[in-house]
Structure formats: structure tokens, C-alpha cells
């Protein structure tokens, strides 16, 4: 029988029961490979549940640095009898199955075309530990030890990770090292080591860091100067506010007074979270909230108020599968339209699409600037795939000379000097008016903020011309935004390309890999990564300069394509959708296959060639 052979290029999937402590052992496995200089891309696939349901952790080991989900499994670590059958099916022919052989299973429970590696994990644990919780937790470390022997992972790398994690907790450190070697020694003595899949030291990680997108958003909020956070727990965004709390505790407590330069309110619902953000933004503090699709629906009334009354607000949407409760623990890019046009009446909002934790950090900090500069809600559109998985990305960077862009704030001095102030007066022609903060001046600059129509001086008005004047100015402001939001990035094909492809957000790593796969098949594609809405002119030009443009998205209804057609007037007959929306992260294989399929049907054979 064939046995898969690969060095630094394979997929390991762990099938576990949630609540069993497997997550930290599995992450340890992934990190140890990183420490050997080999890029990894892990993904949690988990249920909306705390204990007892199936959960998976998929690690792609990829020396070439492809961080998207590959699809297929080369080594299955099957630790959950509940999902045994489907886990078994997923293994590639010639792949490997690692399982707990304490209880013998009938031959019918296996496959003939895979390599089975059995290890009596429960027996080993029961013989070594008496405490049931220890038996459970160390079983995970024991299988990591065995895998280190099977895959030639350097045990020193794992021990180093232990020593960093359990610094000052010698007892824990010792017991973990012991469990690791227990598994490793058993494997070396009783199993055929190594197998065909191996990890070899490389130097392909470099300066990159390994972090989840939600933590990166939180850190971006700290660096971007957010002081107020109103939030309500919702998967997959909750860890944003929790990480913000953690980072603030470390970085934002005043040394002298031990007082906090931050305020975090876990609100009673999403309506209150966004209300807190709007109130703080109105009063001049940088504020943000993090939520997911259902939260956006609840916030919509306030989002319209903030748009119309022109109040800065930064909203992080960690997208998940919708509609309704949908797939709370699965990923999608299905809130694009809901956010772009959130609220009743004519509204349009600024969306930023980060591709990884690095951009989560950058765009959150920039989002706080944009919200104040443009006096409007700004959405940071991440998703579960970026938000809740640790991802290898470029290190965070901060320019020490960077000041916060507070936008057009009318100061006491300018009011005192008699400078004209109209809250909704477009003095600079860019659609952005000046604002005053409450308490600025005893007699000048005060105004009444309202969601109803007003004139340029914030006076209540029901007059049609006043309404139209204001709505037109808001459009001018949106035009101004085009020049301020992150520009799209072109990934040019090295060879002349007839096809274009547009992608955004978490699709990025899979897309980059798909372009290579397609090039190998002789299909050359220029790709453009959209990083913001409103769309820059470059995006429209890109569409117009290719006969066919694939728009790759992780939703059913081609939401970004709709936005392109609707808002930028792109000719929709040029646009071909590539849509992946089953809740799993999109793969390079899927994109390449879809584009290849369409490419064949869209390749026009010259008439002469066809008849000859």
C-alpha cells in the first residue's frame, strides 16, 4: 500500500471532544513546528457548545507559506469516537490515522488504503495518573509527544515552549515535560518512526508573529487610542473585548494613580453597546464595539443616527454564518451588504477589509482615525477565520511620530476668535463639517444633535431643500472617503493575463495560493485585493480592463459583486462570481477549480482555429 511522503507540506487534523483540554495541546503542536522555522496555518473548527461536542483542529504545515486551508487530511489524529466514521473518510488515500488503540476496534472500522497507527493512550494514562482530570489533560500531551517522534518534531522546541508557558511554575513544567516524553518514548520504542510525513528545520518563518485576529483588533484599538468600549458577548467577536481588557490592563493603567485610561462596559445588549459608543464619540472620546451579524442587525437604528447626525463610531464585525442565528461558530463574509447599507433611509458606510491579524491591527487603529476624520461609523469587517484562529503574519509596527487624526474639531480659541461655526456647514468643499465638543465654549458652538433633518446650522428643519442639501453633502463626504481608505492591492500575473480576480478579507491566503495553482495549469490571472468600501477608482479601472473578472467571496449572494455593480456602475456581465459559503474557510483548491472551470467556458477560440 502506498504511504504518503512529504516534508514540510502536509495537513494534520485533530478530532477531539470540546472541553477536554485538547485546544492548548494542539496549539502547542502547531507552535513547535513554527519554532522549527516552518510556517503553519492552524484552524479551529468548533461547535457552539462548551463541553462534550466534537471539535477539530486542523494544522497545515507549509514550507511554501500557503496559509489558506488546503482541504484534505494527510494525518488524522482521531481522538473522538463520536466522529470516527467521518474523520476516517476525510483521510487522503495513503494517509495516516493515529488513534487510541486501548479498546480494539473491528476491522470494518478501518480503511484498507490508509496507514493505521494505534497507541494505547488510555492505558498509558491510567497506568501513570490516578486523577481523572490529569488522565484527560495529559493524554493530549502524550499524543503530542508521540507525534513528535512520528513526524520528527524537535522535542527541544516543545520543551522550550513549556518553559516559556510555565515560567515560575516548576511543578507544571515538570509534569508536562514528563508527559511529553512518556508519549515520545513509547512511540520510539513501539511504533515505526518516522512516518512518511516529516518536519524538517527550515528558515521560512522569519520575523513573522503568530496571533489571532481578535487580539490584533484589540491591540489596534489600544494603539489607535480607543478609550471607551461598549460590547455584548457574541461569538465569534467576544474575545475582541476580552483581549482589549487584557491589553489595557497591561498598557493603559496610569503608573502614578493606578487608574485606568480606558472604560469597558459589558452592556445589556448590542443596542446599548452601540449607544455607548455613539455617546462617547459625540463627546469626543474614541470608542468602539465588536460584534457579529446579529449584533449589526440590532445596532442598525443607531448606525443610521450616527450616519445622519455625523458621529464617529468604530464597529468591528467579526462575521459568521447567517442569516438569523445561522452558523455562529463558522466563518462567512455575509454581512457586507448589511453593513454597507446598515439602517433605514439612504445610508452608506465605510467598510475596511483586513486580510489577517496584521491588518486587523492596522485597520482598527486607522478606523478610529477615519471615524473622527469623516465623523461617521466605520466598519472593520473581519470574520471568524481571521478572528478566532492564530495566524502567521507580519509583525505589528507603529510609527512613533504618528498622532491621532481628530478630524475637524472646532476649538475654544477659534470660537472665541469669532470663526463662523455651522455644525453641518461644508466650509472646505469636502463634505466634512466642523464639530464642537460639549462644554467647549460658554456661549458659542453649542448645538442640538438630532436624527431629524436640520439645516447647515443644526436648526430643526422639515424643508425639502434643507434635507436634500444635507444628503448631497453626505454624498460628497463619501467621495472624500475614497481618498482616505486603504487602497486596493494588485497581485499582477507574471505572464499576460486575460482574466482578473477580485478578492478580499480572509480569502487572501487561499487566493494567493490559487493563483499559483492556476498558473501551473496555464491560466493566468491578475488579482486585485479590495481593502475598503467606498471603492477606489482603481477597482473600477481593474474591472474595465479585463474581459472577465472573477469576484471571489464567502457568501451566497455575491455581496461585494452587488456592491461593485450597485455603487460603482461596473458592468455586471464582466463579473463572474466564485462563491464559497458552507461555513468552512475557502480553499485554494476550490478557487482554482472554479476559476479553471469558468475560464474554459469563457475562453473564446478564434474563428479560424475553430473551423480549421
Amino acid at each position: 500500500m502506498k504511504a504518503l511522503e512529504a516534508v514540510n507540506d502536509f495537513v494534520v487534523k485533530f478530532a477531539n471532544v470540546n472541553g477536554s483540554g485538547s485546544a492548548s495541546a494542539n496549539e502547542l503542536f502547531a507552535r513547535s513546528i513554527l519554532r522549527m522555522g516552518v510556517p503553519v496555518s492552524p484552524r479551529n473548527i468548533f461547535p457552539s457548545n462548551i463541553q462534550g461536542l466534537p471539535t477539530w483542529y486542523e494544522v497545515r504545515i507549509t514550507e511554501r507559506g500557503y496559509l489558506g486551508r488546503r482541504g484534505g487530511v494527510d494525518l488524522m489524529v482521531a481522538m473522538n469516537p463520536q466522529t470516527w466514521d467521518r474523520d476516517l473518510k476525510e483521510i487522503e488515500p495513503g494517509g495516516y490515522l493515529f488513534h487510541d488503540s486501548t479498546r480494539a476496534l473491528p476491522k470494518s472500522k478501518f480503511r484498507d488504503d490508509i496507514n493505521v497507527i494505534g497507541m494505547p493512550l488510555t492505558d498509558i494514562c491510567n497506568a501513570t495518573y490516578t486523577d481523572p482530570r490529569q488522565r484527560q489533560l495529559f493524554k493530549n500531551i502524550i499524543y503530542v509527544g508521540a507525534l513528535s517522534a512520528l513526524l520528527e518534531i524537535d522535542p527541544a522546541a516543545i520543551e522550550k515552549l513549556f518553559s516559556e508557558q510555565y515560567k515560575g511554575k516548576e511543578k507544571l513544567l515538570d509534569s508536562n515535560v514528563k508527559a511529553l516524553h512518556l508519549g515520545r518514548d513509547f512511540a520510539l520504542a513501539n511504533l515505526q518512526c518516522p512516518i512518511g510525513l516529516r518536519v524538517r528545520r527550515a528558515d521560512r518563518v522569519g520575523e513573522r508573529i503568530f496571533i489571532d485576529g481578535n487580539s490584533a483588533v484589540a491591540l489596534g484599538a489600544v494603539y489607535g487610542g480607543a478609550t471607551v468600549c461598549g460590547w455584548y458577548p457574541i461569538t465569534p467577536s467576544s474575545s475582541v473585548a476580552e483581549a482589549f481588557q487584557r491589553y489595557c490592563q497591561r498598557l493603559r493603567v496610569d503608573r502614578e494613580s493606578a487608574k485606568n485610561r480606558f472604560a469597558i462596559v459589558q452592556a445589556e445588549d448590542e443596542l446599548a453597546s452601540i449607544g455607548i459608543v455613539v455617546g462617547a464619540g459625540w463627546n469626543g472620546a474614541r470608542a468602539f464595539t465588536a460584534t457579529s451579524g446579529p449584533g449589526i442587525s440590532l445596532m442598525s437604528e443607531f448606525i443610521g443616527l450616527a450616519y445622519f447626525a455625523e458621529i464617529p463610531a468604530t464597529i468591528v464585525d467579526v462575521q459568521r454564518g447567517g442569516p438569523s442565528t445561522g452558523m455562529p461558530t463558522r466563518t462567512q463574509q455575509s454581512d457586507v451588504l448589511a453593513c454597507a447599507y446598515a439602517s433605514h433611509g439612504d445610508t452608506k458606510h465605510i467598510l475596511l477589509f483586513p486580510e489577517d491579524p496584521k491588518e486587523c491591527f492596522d485597520f482598527t487603529a486607522q478606523g478610529l482615525d477615519l471615524a473622527e476624520r469623516l465623523q461617521t461609523p466605520v466598519f472593520v469587517m473581519t470574520d471568524l477565520d481571521i478572528g478566532m484562529n492564530t495566524r502567521l503574519c507580519e509583525p505589528f509596527a507603529w510609527d512613533e511620530t504618528r498622532a491621532y487624526d481628530r478630524g475637524k474639531l472646532m476649538s475654544y480659541e477659534r470660537l472665541e476668535a469669532g470663526v463662523e461655526f455651522g455644525r453641518y456647514l461644508d466650509v472646505d468643499g469636502d463634505g466634512i463639517p466642523y464639530r464642537t465638543l460639549p462644554g467647549t465654549h460658554p456661549t458659542r458652538g453649542g448645538y442640538f444633535t438630532r436624527g431629524t433633518t436640520k439645516d447647515r446650522y443644526a436648526r430643526y428643519s422639515e424643508a425639502g431643500p434643507d434635507y436634500v442639501d444635507n444628503m448631497q453633502r453626505l454624498l460628497r463626504k463619501f467621495e472624500t472617503a475614497k481618498g482616505l481608505v486603504p487602497k486596493p492591492l494588485l497581485v499582477p500575473s507574471p505572464k499576460p493575463a486575460r482574466f482578473g480576480a477580485i478578492f478580499y478579507g480572509s480569502t487572501s491566503p487561499a487566493m494567493v495560493e490559487a493563483l499559483d495553482l492556476l498558473a501551473e495549469r496555464g491560466i493566468h490571472v491578475n488579482a486585485l485585493r479590495v481593502r475598503a468600501f467606498p471603492f477606489a477608482e482603481e477597482i473600477v479601472d481593474f474591472c474595465n480592463s479585463h474581459p472577465w473578472v472573477f469576484v471571489v467571496e464567502q457568501n451566497r449572494d455575491a455581496q461585494l459583486k452587488t456592491l461593485l455593480v450597485n455603487d460603482s456602475g461596473v458592468n455586471q456581465t464582466r463579473l463572474v462570481s466564485v462563491l464559497h459559503y458552507d461555513g468552512t474557510p475557502i480553499t485554494a483548491r476550490f478557487i482554482a477549480d472554479e476559476i479553471a472551470r469558468h475560464a474554459v467556458s469563457h475562453t473564446v477560440i478564434p474563428f479560424k482555429k475553430a473551423v480549421s
Partner: protein, 353 residues
């Protein structure tokens, strides 16, 4: 309402406060509410209270939801910033505003529809959190702007103008505020300015969540026989427990007036100021949350409207204290105060490898 603009000139003998402002300096735009509306009396009481307290008008932020009551912040303190937010959500906006700048005075104005129906959730949670504010409900038992539907505070059995009898049990905001942890709870009547003005002043001075439920008859839709929120009914059933007629005494000012023992309760507030309450109900203790709740409920069962300062915690905690926030307003902090800098980020990067 009138459409004639107020004259800018005023009588030269109009008294000025310590800041040199007359009451006119605390006024706002001309009211668009109906003539005789209780809400206008409340606006006048707010103007009077702010003037008497020598407040800088622009140091007050006025926030409201939606409805007749929520329109009123446009009609007082014209030099202050106001925010007419969304229906029932003023409390969260006020909370955010308060977190952004702890140095201003926050005055939330709401109605019974805004607070007891659509906004009852936010009402409850803003009280729980102890946001330092005055939360004033102009309570008329009906939806005025949509023309006279019952609100959630309408009493069971009370009649609408069209003769419909309300069958739903009422929400009692005072009882809710007491139960949820407000540290200053009062009820008053828009027709009793002598009682209302000192209550507003005391609420402004109170450094915590202060709630005043002001029964404010709707002359257009709820001022008829059969209503329990009409001028006539409230006048006939008003049961004041006390009166703050000695008012707010700043710290070191000598108190020269003597009153017979047993008739006056002194409440020393956190900042050292003293509230003096003249007792009207001899057995009423405004320091006890539990007995206050019982007293209000017992009298309510008899159809009486208990008014006055019902409960006050002399040493309240507020949200800023709970969150241990920095002394300087957040909206004055810049990158220097908030950004940990490139070196700290490099350390974070190093720990993520």
C-alpha cells in the same frame, strides 16, 4: 405653542447669579409643545435650578430619547450641547458621553413611553450601573406625539380621552429605580415648582444615579376625568413625604437657621454639602431603600401619589468609581497618553513568535 420669537431684551432688574447670568441665559428655543403642557413647567424648573446653582450652562450636556418630553432639551440651556438620540436609548448614549468626559453634568430627559416601554431595558441598566446623572422622566401616561395612546405608566383602570379603560398593570419607574440601585430617587409634580426646583438641584449635586419621576399632565390627551395623570387628580392625591426647602448648602457655609428637632432631616452628601429635608410624613425615612419601597407601594395601592425625595444614599458610588477611571476626561487624552509606543509593540511582537 407660539411662533413669536422671544424678545432678546429683558428687564434690567432681572436678578443675576454669582456668574452674572440671569435666568434668561439659561433659556433655550421657544417651546413647540401645547399651551399648558406640564413639560414646559419642568423646563422652567430646570432653568430655575441651574440658575440658582450658578452652573455654567455649557458645562451641562442634555440628552434625550424620542417623544414630546425628549424634544424639551431644545427649550432650555440653549448654550449647552444637546443630543436628541433614538427612542428609548438615551441611557446608553448618556453612559457613553459620561465616560468620555466625567467633568460635565449629564441631564437625561425622557418620557414614560421612552423609559417605561421601549426603553425599559436601558432605564434598568443605567440605574444598575450608577451613572452619575440626573435622569428625569416627564411622566404623563400617554404617547403625546402619536396622539394619545396609553403608555406603560398609565394606571390600570384609568381612562383615555376617548373613554377606553386601560387594562394593563402600570410600570412604576420609582419602584424600579429603587430596586435597581439608583442612589437618589424622587417623585414630583410639574404643577408644584416649589417642590420640583429644589429636587432638581439636589439631584444635580448628587454624585451618582439620580432619578426624578415628574408627573406632568398632557393637556391634549390626558387631562380629563378618569385620568390619574391629570392636573386635578394629581393635585387631589399628592402625598408629599418631605420638602427640600432649605436646599443645597455648600460645604463650609454657616447654617444659621434652627429648626425644631424631629422636623428636619439633614443629609450630608459625599462632597460635604448638606441637604435639609423638612419632614411632611413623620414616619418617613429617606435613607432606607426597603422602607421607601414599601411606603411608596402602600400609598400607591390607596391611589395616592407619593412625592418628595424618596431615597438618597449620601455616599453613592458611580460608574467611574466602579471602573476606576483616570481623573482627566478621556476626550482630552491624545496619543501621548494612550499609545503605548513602538518599543512596547516590539516586545509584544517578540512574545508572539
Amino acid at each position: 405653542m407660539t411662533y413669536i420669537a422671544k424678545p432678546r431684551l429683558h428687564h434690567p432688574t432681572l436678578a443675576a447669579n454669582k456668574l452674572g447670568y440671569t435666568r434668561r441665559d439659561y433659556e433655550g428655543k421657544i417651546s413647540t409643545l401645547c399651551a399648558g403642557c406640564g413639560h414646559d413647567s419642568i423646563s422652567a424648573a430646570i432653568i430655575q435650578a441651574c440658575w440658582e446653582l450658578d452652573l455654567e450652562p455649557h458645562r451641562v450636556a442634555k440628552l434625550s430619547g424620542i417623544g414630546c418630553s425628549s424634544k424639551t432639551p431644545d427649550y432650555f440651556l440653549g448654550n449647552s450641547h444637546g443630543f436628541n438620540s433614538v427612542h428609548g436609548r438615551m441611557p446608553s448614549v448618556l453612559t457613553g458621553a459620561n465616560l468620555a468626559n466625567r467633568d460635565l453634568i449629564y441631564l437625561g430627559v425622557s418620557g414614560d413611553g421612552d423609559s417605561a416601554s421601549i426603553g425599559i431595558g436601558q432605564f434598568a441598566h443605567v440605574m444598575r450601573r450608577g451613572v452619575n446623572m440626573v435622569y428625569l422622566v416627564e411622566n404623563n401616561g400617554v404617547y403625546g406625539l402619536t396622539k394619545g395612546q396609553f403608555s406603560a405608566t398609565a394606571d390600570q383602570g384609568s381612562q383615555s380621552k376617548r373613554g377606553v379603560v386601560n387594562s394593563d398593570a402600570p410600570v412604576d419607574l420609582v419602584a424600579l429605580a429603587l430596586q435597581l440601585g439608583a442612589t437618589f430617587v424622587a417623585r414630583s409634580f410639574s404643577g408644584d415648582k416649589a417642590q420640583l426646583v429644589p429636587l432638581i438641584k439636589a439631584a444635580i449635586v448628587h454624585p451618582g444615579a439620580a432619578f426624578i419621576d415628574v408627573i406632568s399632565p398632557c393637556v391634549a390627551f390626558n387631562n380629563h376625568a378618569g385620568s390619574t395623570k391629570s392636573y386635578e387628580y394629581v393635585r387631589g392625591h399628592n402625598e408629599p413625604v418631605n420638602r427640600i426647602d432649605f436646599d443645597y448648602w455648600p460645604k463650609r457655609e454657616e447654617i444659621t437657621v434652627d429648626y425644631p428637632a424631629g422636623e428636619v432631616i439633614s443629609v450630608t452628601q459625599h462632597d460635604g454639602s448638606v441637604l435639609r429635608l423638612r419632614k411632611l410624613a413623620p414616619d418617613y425615612d429617606p435613607h432606607n431603600r426597603i422602607t421607601a419601597m414599601n411606603y411608596v407601594q402602600e400609598h400607591q395601592a390607596k391611589g395616592e401619589v407619593v412625592t418628595g425625595l424618596l431615597y438618597v444614599d449620601p455616599d453613592p458610588e458611580d460608574l467611574h468609581r466602579h471602573l476606576n477611571t483616570f481623573d482627566a476626561p478621556f476626550n482630552t487624552l491624545g496619543a501621548k497618553d494612550l499609545c503605548p509606543g513602538a518599543a512596547a509593540l516590539e516586545k509584544i511582537n517578540a512574545a508572539l513568535r
